[in-house]
């Protein structure tokens, strides 16, 4: 079966490997010259990993895994109530929980390729507009119902019908099922196909349809069913290695799941493996990194994750803890710029209004960032190297685009404006003319945590240094939940943000497409996923190349074109690529080394997220 799969995915495999190869700092030219030589690149990837590149792989000497133990995981937020995929704004902490109680249809392989997990085989039609998946037979949800084609289709349909996740799946025209097989039809040819439903997409995770039908928010329910639906959307019923036990929301509270003895990869499962090893796993929310770090040191947590570079740096060389660093497929820190103006024929076509105004109330008309000159001026004024050094403890890298090294589409030079005060001032003169403002007034909305606030202070001071009296920046710290609301509604000028973590650029299209750019409307948020609301035909063309063209070379070129468009148009002010750190007690083993039943290594860490089934603790005791 594994061989069959590899064949079907030969194309994807190739370009993924190339993309992964770019993770090394050195071999850019070699790849450019020999894009076809796939085999050699595989070796290169492995070499890079051996050199200890920041992939986050747990390279400790293998010992035999033992059962038992209770792992307490300190996570950074409680962002996700409810957890059901179609209704969740699922950030890293939520994604870790999903990985514990359920599995995704696909999972990211070690080279950035996508490998099937719940799926056994996958076959595209000749025109790549219809893909048929065969689901592994014999997998059962925690409530005993089987995972069959109908169950998968039901899960996908909840996501398609949900206003939150619907836009991301709008390219799917139909989902049909027959026995264990599911056929997904697309409006356009899909290069990636259902592989997009992997562990870095919340809709890739499967939950029991029987249970989903008891959840009142389920968009597939009729009004009558909804009235009697009494299920709790936080009490997840998945197919995962752990079964839901309890959940208490809020900071300091926890999500507890216990070992699923009937896990499909367990001793009673279809593969006859021994997963999972842990008896119980608990995710405790500890928003403050100091709190998480102290919790780890005090024995409250066995493992924590963080993207705080200062904190990661502190654990470097500390023998008492295991530190895994990963920037693969990670997010990019940036300042989003609200470019809503003019009309949007793309989203308009979907609504039957080709003249759809992006800013009908004129709310964004005073935002100078709708002018390219202003965006360029701002970009030129930011010393991203200094930001990386001072805010990233010198261990993170300044970003120049949405694709970190290692991703497809990464470029050394994207054409994004470099730190240059003279250029910044020149652009600012133009900006003053374009915006008609003097001083140019811009509002920066950021999260309330002290670190973001301080970073914003540094950014503002850089702008002050560059522009002096020409600019007036007002920084507004907003509570995190409200921040997302403002982004969705488009009620901001500039917003501190972190996003675009993912394995394949085609998974990211909905963040950048004009189709998901909704008009600014603070009273009725239209859930625009393109928060920056830019409408760019060139971007649409490039994204089509990434999404719909099966030729890996074309896809790579298109992804690079996307990157260059970001550089040219400055839709975002890039700051740094996120570095994730997993810090654990040395008793916790095999933190990131997860393989598929076929023995394929998976990507150790994807934007901080990793699998938990394979984790075990020495002597079956995580606390020691």
């Amino acid at each position: 079966m594994a061989k069959k799969f590899v064949k079907a995915f030969a194309v994807l495999f190739a370009f993924s490997l190339i993309a992964a190869a770019c993770g090394g700092d050195s071999d850019e030219t070699a790849i450019e010259n020999e894009p076809e030589v796939v085999e050699e690149e595989v070796t290169q990837v492995e070499e890079d990993r051996e050199q200890g590149d920041a992939t986050g792989e747990d390279t400790r000497d293998d010992m035999t895994a033992v059962h038992g133990g209770r792992l307490v995981y300190g996570v950074e937020a409680d962002t996700s109530n409810p957890f059901v995929p179609y209704a969740s704004s699922c950030a890293i902490s939520c994604r870790m929980i999903l990985r514990s109680v359920s599995d995704a249809l696909f999972i990211t392989g070690a080279g950035g390729n996508i490998v099937p997990h719940l799926v056994e085989t996958i076959v595209p039609s000749a025109d790549f507009k219809s893909w048929t998946m065969a689901i592994r037979d014999g997998i059962k949800f925690h409530d005993g119902t089987p995972l069959d084609g109908a169950a998968v289709a039901y899960n996908l349909n909840t996501c398609r019908m949900s206003p939150l996740t619907g836009p991301a799946l709008s390219q799917i025209s139909d989902v049909t099922s027959d026995g264990q097989s599911v056929t997904i039809s697309y409006t356009f040819p899909e290069a990636l196909g259902p592989a997009a439903l992997n562990s870095s997409t919340q809709c890739g995770f499967m939950f029991s349809p029987t249970w989903l039908q008891t959840i009142a928010s389920n968009p597939l329910l009729t009004a009558e069913q909804r009235a009697t639906a009494a299920g709790n959307p936080t009490e997840l019923v998945g197919v995962g290695a752990f079964t839901f036990k309890s959940y208490t929301p809020g900071n300091g509270n926890s999500f507890i799941a216990t070992r699923n003895a009937d896990y499909w990869r367990g001793e009673n499962g279809i593969t006859g493996e021994e997963l999972p090893y842990l008896d119980e796993i608990e995710f405790v929310v500890s928003v403050d990194i100091q709190g998480r770090s102290n919790g780890l040191k005090g024995g409250q947590f066995d493992i924590i994750h963080t993207s705080n570079a200062d904190e990661i740096k502190k654990y470097e060389g500390n023998e008492d803890y295991v530190l895994l660093q990963a920037n693969d497929y990670g997010e990019t820190s940036m300042y989003m710029l609200n470019a809503a103006q003019g009309t949007n024929p793309y989203a308009g076509a979907l609504r039957g209004d080709p003249e759809l105004a992006m800013d009908p109330l004129g709310m964004n008309s005073t935002n100078p960032m709708i002018h390219l000159s202003c965006r360029k001026a701002a970009a030129h004024s930011l010393d991203t190297q200094r930001l990386a050094d001072e805010r990233g403890a010198g261990i993170v890298k300044p970003a120049n685009g949405p694709f970190p090294p290692g991703s497809m589409g990464y470029l050394e030079d994207t054409g994004y404006p470099k730190f240059d005060i003279a250029m910044a001032q020149t652009e600012m003169e133009q900006c003053k003319i374009d915006s008609g403002q003097d001083p140019v007034t811009v509002g920066v909305t950021i999260g309330q945590d002290p670190f973001s606030a301080e970073t914003a202070d540094l950014v503002v001071s850089m702008m002050d240094d560059a522009f002096g009296e020409d600019i007036s920046v007002v920084v507004t710290p907003i509570e995190q939940g409200q921040l997302i609301g403002l982004a969705l509604a488009g009620a901001y000028h500039v917003m501190g943000w972190r996003n675009f973590g993912g394995v394949d650029p085609s998974e990211l299209w909905y963040w950048w497409s004009a189709y998901t750019a909704s008009p600014v409307n603070p009273t009725v948020p239209e859930l625009a996923l393109n928060f920056g609301r830019f409408v760019d035909p060139e971007m649409e063309t490039a994204m089509q190349g990434v999404r719909f063209n099966p030729d890996p070379a074309v896809r790579k070129a298109s992804a690079e074109a996307v990157n260059r468009l970001f550089g040219k148009n400055v839709w975002n002010l890039w700051t740094t690529w996120t570095l994730w750190g997993l810090i654990s007690s040395p008793r916790v083993m095999d933190i990131t080394t997860f393989t598929t039943p076929e023995g394929t290594m998976t990507a150790p860490v994807v934007a901080g997220k990793h699998s938990v089934q394979q984790i075990w603790c020495q002597d079956g005791n995580c606390q020691g």
């Binding site: 100091q290 502190k314 540094l458 002050d464």
Partner: protein, 294 residues
């Protein structure tokens, strides 16, 4: 011999009388601290302090040094000048907030205590109404409805703080006024034909004032702390305007590598509040002992 002894005794008498009258070294230390702080805060623009919002490249999280006497914060700003400019914010909020509360609460308390009866009942209900409002909820809802973009945060802060301080001050004044109104000199003033306003402001207020002033100092200290708490939640005057609470908040992530970032503003807040409380207590003590003579 006798002469010498006499002289010595006179000096002793002098000294004892001085210590009885004086407010003590600590009092003057507190007054001088506040005086220096206020002076620096008012003339910060003229005095040779560094720009409090300028970030010095490469100096982030540096400890105290020759050019940065209290060190640098997480993004390389000069902590000394931020402490001084932060004092501006804290003092303006505390002084203006207390003054407004003093004027409004004082007038209400004076009128309620002097007129009594229906006036008293009405005004007391007004005062008590402000007491039942949960302060933080009031503040946050005001922010949400009036100032989500932090454009007039200072105004909202002062407004809320003043509103919340009116009742405590009003009640102190009312109780004091009632006690002093019992005195016959108030009736005497009415008998010679003084208007009610004159009786209140010329006869009663000077007697109420001492305890009012010392109480106001304590209110002021409380407001500084509350401002710090609000800033710690990120709800105070928006960045880059320095405030002590904001500095403490932003120093938090660096606490284990650079504790001075948090320590310096916390210390200045601590000393300011301590000084205000100390001065308030001492004055109260002094006026009370004086009142006891009467």
């Amino acid at each position: 011999m006798i002469k010498l002894k006499l002289r010595k005794r006179t000096r002793e008498v002098d000294e004892t009388s001085r210590t009885n009258n004086s407010l003590g070294l600590m009092f003057w230390a507190a007054v001088s601290f506040l005086a220096v702080l206020t002076f620096c805060a008012i003339f910060a623009d003229i005095l040779p302090f560094k720009n409090p919002t300028q970030t010095f490249k490469g100096f982030n999280k540096n400890g105290p040094s020759g050019s940065f006497l209290l060190g640098n914060d997480g993004v390389g700003r000069d902590i000394l000048s931020r402490v001084v400019y932060g004092a501006q914010t804290s003092l303006v909020i505390a002084v203006v907030g207390t003054s407004i509360a003093l004027i409004i609460g004082g007038s209400i308390g004076l009128a309620a205590g002097y007129y009594r009866g229906k006036v008293d009942r009405l005004l007391t209900i007004m005062l008590n109404t402000t007491l039942i409002i949960p302060p933080l909820i009031l503040f946050i809802s005001l922010i949400l409805f009036l100032d989500p973009a932090a454009e007039r945060r200072m105004f909202i802060l002062i407004f809320t703080f003043a509103l919340l301080s009116i009742a405590p001050i009003g009640r102190v004044v009312r109780a004091n006024t009632m006690a002093w109104s019992e005195r016959e000199f108030v009736l005497a003033a009415q008998t010679i034909g003084a208007r009610n306003g004159r009786v209140m402001f010329r006869e009663i207020l000077p007697n109420v004032a001492p305890s009012l002033i010392s109480y106001s100092l304590i209110v002021m200290a409380t407001l500084i702390i509350v401002e710090g708490a609000v800033a710690f939640l990120g709800l105070s005057v928006p960045s880059p305007t320095p405030t002590w609470g904001d500095m403490i908040n932003k120093g938090r992530p660096h606490l284990d590598v650079a504790p001075h970032i948090t320590l310096m503003p916390a210390l200045s807040m601590f000393l300011t509040v301590l000084s205000l409380n100390f001065i308030g207590d001492k004055l109260q003590e002094k006026f009370e002992s004086k009142a006891a003579i009467l």
